[in-house]
Amino acid sequence: MFMSVVSSAIKMGGVVLKKASGIKAGILSAFIWGSGQFLNRHYTKGIFFLIAQIVFVMCLPSIYEGIRGFVTLGEKATIIEGSKVIHGDNSIILMLLGIVWLFIGIVFLCIYIANIRDAAIYYRQRKEGKDVLEDKEWFNRFKERSFPYIMLIPSVVLILLFVAVPIIFGFLIAFTNYSAPDHLPPKNLVSWVGFKNFLDMFRLPMWNDTFWGVLTWTVIWAIISTLTSYFGGLGVACLVNSRRVKFKKFWRTIYILPWAIPGMISLLVFRNMFNGQFGPINTYLRKIGAITQNIPWLSDPLLAKIVIIVVNFWLGFPYFMAMSTGVMTNISPELLEAARIDGATPRQEFRYITLPLVLYATAPLLIMSFAGNFNNFNVIYFLTDGNPINPNYKFAGSTDILITWIYKLTRDNRQFHMASVMSILVFIVIATISTWNFLRTKAFKEEDMLQ
């Protein structure tokens, strides 16, 4: 009822305006959304925009409050008077809501601009006497064109809520003082601090030493773990693929097991096997008289690192073995036969045909695996938990890599601001590798040597 009154009023107003002067429909739409569309006789569209405006006006106070909260991060701290707690603002919730409302505001801004543009374009066309899409036609086309958007709505909402907003939030935390013990909502307020955390990371010796120490081990770990698994896997694949070996499938099935067994379980098993006090390895070595004292497998910094790499090899080589085998069995038989006719020995055949093809096909996996190991939370966390404790490090142990350090900072020590700084640095590393890999593979996608 209300709607029809409004629309007819606008329609009449539009007619009056059109007759009176050449005021552009765009200007009309700039004030009352959809009114320009009514002037163009696009009623359905006009109603859409009008509804959008009504929703926008209803949201306006929330958008304002959201942005205000985002800028100030709360003004009223929680006060405790005797036994009474007066709850103040929760900076973290304000920040989150701020990001959400900012998003919603941007959506409305886009609708608003589309509304003005649309009105102006069709108004000009109509004035110039061109054939303009009729209301009904437009609606049919709209239905057709909106299919991709409708299909994407659930995904987009979920990504925004659980991926995009959290990442933006995580990114912004690096510019606040959100941390224990003095800036922990809901008890205290959090405020913006600019680049202070980044400067602290490199200026304060404790943070700085930990950062470089952990980073060095992370890089060493990522390189060694990737290379050992890669070449180990490749070697085993070649071995099994050798013409001497019978029952290839049997061997492959055994070797694939570490990949198939859930990683966390294997890691917890290894953690117990290498247990310095009660573990079966030390028990066995003592029993056969190889050692008299327990070997501190996981409590000596260097030994723990070696154990981590060996265990990771156990976990990682089957993956590369499976991948290389996949490539090897896909090499075209004609290619190998051609080489044989040309008099190639099996060794040459392997060296000049099989190996290059396998290396070529698995190189992207190598790069992605490096990125994966750089962030390999499970191996470190379940095997050593980052221990042994390193007295020179802040909140990190000797075997901690960046990602487990970030986890400890967040979960155990509530140093969210520094964890966020570190996440940004990790992102820069991973993004560089991934982008390089992406461009490389796109550029060299053509490969018809493989079947």
Binding site: V165, I167, I261, F278, P280, N378, Y407
Partner: protein, 298 residues
């Protein structure tokens, strides 16, 4: 020693040419060495597995006394899992989360990939680029925010909250993956159907879905697997003991007092690992395909 190895190529139109070996002494040595190496690697792979399986049948409960081949095997730890711990709950919870997550993820990913690969619309490029960037961030950079968002939505300590987190998190990577696979399939099939007047949803269901089955199997499998061993998100989102997943339950079983619950943990580990391992080994073809596609396309 003169090498007397000779090869003859047997041509067969149906199979690839095979070599027959004429054995000599040096060949025999090499073969023996090869098999030695194979057996050594097999031992390296199998020892931890045999040890944990054996441990689960040990009569004592401590790590110190756990041996690979117990003298008087018992299944009492398996019984203990079902009577004294919340293991059955954890198992069913994890199974439920894994299945629902798999279904939601497949629906979301396949529809988005279909739209991105077969339609032209405003914002397509921006959308593809943003998800490409989003998937490069370490997944728990947004951990604190996810926690607070779930809290605001009243979804903390619910399985639904955990499922939403998983299903949303996989969209960026898997959409690129499936989209890449779809670009390799000629459009002529679905365009022909379109000319015949078939609706988009009909085309998606009857033409596209069957075509992308291999890559969708990979997405389904990897999404089914994820909840079994993911530790970070359930630890953050779930807090009631009866809502826990297996990863948390098993971890807690041995993280405190390593020496005392060990054999019960071993029994639980075996019960989890056996079905997952069988699933993995039998579907490894799809896994390899999917991973290779992922490394090449994304």
């Amino acid at each position: 020693m003169i090498r007397e190895t000779a090869y003859t190529t047997v041509s067969n139109p149906n199979t690839q040419p095979k070599r027959t070996l004429v054995y000599s002494f040096s060949e025999t040595v090499k073969t023996a060495l090869t098999y030695c190496l194979l057996v050594l690697i097999a031992l390296f792979v199998l020892i931890p597995i045999v040890w944990i399986v054996g441990s689960s049948f040990n009569p004592a409960s401590s790590l110190l006394s756990a041996t690979a081949f117990p003298e008087d095997p018992t299944i009492k730890h398996y019984l203990k899992l079902f009577t004294e711990t919340k293991f059955p709950y954890w198992y069913l919870n994890t199974l439920k989360i894994a299945l629902v997550n798999m279904v939601i993820s497949v629906i979301l990913t396949s529809t988005s990939a279909y739209v991105f690969s077969r339609f032209n619309f405003k914002g397509k490029k921006v959308g593809l680029l943003s998800i490409l960037i989003l998937q490069m961030f370490p997944s728990f950079m947004g951990m604190m925010a996810v926690y607070n968002i779930l809290w605001q939505l009243g979804l903390l300590d619910t399985h639904f909250g955990l499922i939403l987190t998983y299903a949303a998190g996989q969209i960026p990577y898997n959409t690129w993956l499936v989209k890449g696979y779809l670009s390799g399939i000629p459009r002529s099939l679905d365009e022909a159907a379109k000319i015949e007047g078939a609706s988009n949803l009909y085309i998606f269901r009857t033409i596209i879905l069957p075509l992308i089955k291999p890559i969708i199997t990979f997405v389904a499998l990897s999404q089914f697997m994820a909840p079994w061993m993911d530790f970070i998100f359930p630890r953050m989102i779930l807090s009631s003991p009866e809502k826990m997943t297996l990863a948390i339950g098993l971890y807690d079983m041995i993280s405190g007092n390593t020496n005392n619950n060990f054999t019960t943990f071993a029994a639980g580990a075996v019960l989890v690992a056996v079905p997952i391992t069988i699933l993995y080994v039998s579907l490894q073809k799809y896994l390899i395909q999917g991973i290779t596609a992922g490394a090449n396309k994304v």
